[in-house]
């Protein structure tokens, strides 16, 4: 491993580690709310990664003055900013939908533990099949 490059790209490296933390949270926790938190971690990591790709050292935010006198070479890249904006909106929407599904699951099964929900749903299914037979 070339640590020199890793140190230079430390923002991207931090984004990757944040992504890994989110993935671990998603995999390890049985609690649905904590899984959603892990998912949001992964979203944020990707935004950090994209935003860091657009950065150019010493350049400013892409806001031109009214006369248009600032040179195009003095701005950072605006495309990752636009992509991150889209990403944030989508991540807010997805989080809201996930949370509302969790609310419905909690009201049905009175637990947030995914294992218990799966087991209770299976039991309910079996009872239903028995009733049908």
């Amino acid at each position: 491993m070339n640590l020199q490059i890793l140190l230079e790209n430390r923002v991207e490296a931090a984004a990757i580690i944040l992504f890994g933390i989110g993935l671990t949270t998603l995999l390890l926790n049985r609690n649905l709310i904590k899984k959603i938190i892990g998912f949001s971690f992964m979203d944020s990591a990707i935004f950090l990664f994209l935003a860091s790709e657009g950065y150019i050292a010493g350049h400013t935010a892409p806001i031109q003055d009214a006369a248009g006198s600032l040179s195009a070479a003095s701005f950072i890249n605006p495309i990752p900013a636009g992509l991150v904006l889209t990403g944030i909106v989508v991540s807010v929407s997805v989080t809201a939908v996930m949370l509302s599904l969790t609310v419905r699951l909690y009201q049905r099964f009175h637990t947030l533990n995914l294992d218990e929900i799966v087991q209770l749903a299976r039991e309910a299914n079996e009872e239903e099949e028995e009733a049908n037979d």
């Binding site: 890793l6 992504f19 995999l27 892409p62």
Partner: protein
């Protein structure tokens, strides 16, 4: 069985005699035993084997996560150095947006130019994602309390009046926050800001007002009808105002609306109205999410 319990609960809330409170206690006890029964169900031998495989699962998932981190870090080492202007990502697309944006779009905020003029369809889709998510949450959560038995609970315990400090603070802050959100939206083509951030700020003001004065009073200002009307008109306006580029061969750069003087409030063609439309959609959606999660009703 659950329905019986809930009826007991609502009975005990309607009456306040000691007998009723005994009923309440009996209900709580029944609830406790139900939980214990569930706990026992999860400690049979079959489930011990399950617990063992759970340990294996945990070890495996940590291994997978660490593996993913290492592989991705390996990828990071092959990335070009951070913050150089010679990186391949700084290509002619970004250069064009930066160099020609002010002449072609007319907004001094070059990012606003990009997302609301060059790539306006992208932003229309984005607003629709937000609207679709709000609709999905509405379908899942609206009127939930009418189906659930805890509606009687809500009826028995009316909304507690909010803290006087919160009410006084909200009275002072709400107009200022709303005004600030409006400023961010209207300033979106001149400086940092725009429909998404300004709409989120305005939504926060509405949420604060609702928390301080209750959903009943909020209903006079912002009801479900308001939500429907604003979302529909804002999205329809956005879609129609961008549809004309279909008739100009999908090349909407030579616009019929002049770009005006750069830096003036009424400049940059359609960017200002589109920012306002997006801002209203975001504001409604943010407030709608909060209201639905709090009460199942906008």
């Amino acid at each position: 069985m659950k329905n019986d319990l809930d009826r007991d609960l609502s009975l005990s809330l309607e009456e306040s005699s000691p007998q009723a409170s005994r009923l309440d206690a009996a209900h709580l006890h029944a609830h406790d035993t139900r939980i214990h029964r569930q706990d026992r169900a999860f400690s049979t031998r079959e489930n011990q084997a399950h617990a063992l495989s759970l340990g294996g699962y945990r070890a495996l998932s940590v291994l997978v996560a660490v593996g993913v981190i290492l592989v991705l870090l390996w990828g990071v080492m092959d990335l070009p150095a951070f913050g150089r202007d010679t990186n391949p990502v700084e290509n002619e697309v970004a250069e064009r947006y930066l160099a020609q944006g002010l002449q072609e779009g007319g907004a001094t905020n070059l990012v606003a130019n990009m997302i609301l003029d060059y790539r306006a369809f992208d932003t229309l889709g984005e607003s629709n994602v937000l609207f679709t998510a709000a609709t999905a949450v509405l379908l899942l959560l609206r009127g939930l309390q009418t189906r659930e038995a805890d509606r009687s609970l809500a009826a028995a315990a009316p909304e507690a009046p909010a803290d006087p400090i919160l009410r006084a603070g909200a009275r002072a802050l709400c107009p200022v926050i709303l005004l600030y959100g409006l400023y961010i939206i209207l300033n979106g083509h001149l400086g940092p800001g725009g429909g998404f951030s300004g709409g989120a700020v305005m939504g926060a003001a509405l949420i604060l007002y609702r928390e301080a004065y209750g959903s009943e009073k909020m209903g006079h200002l912002f009801s479900f009808r308001t939500y429907r009307a604003i979302s529909f008109f804002a999205l329809a306006f956005y879609a129609l105002s961008k549809a004309y580029s279909f008739f100009t061969g999908a090349n909407h750069l030579p616009s019929i609306i002049s770009t005006g003087t750069p830096g003036a409030i009424l400049s940059a063609g359609l960017i200002l109205p589109l920012n306002i439309a997006v801002g209203f959609v975001v504001c409604c959606t943010m407030y709608g999410f909060f209201a639905l999660f709090e009460k199942g009703e906008i």
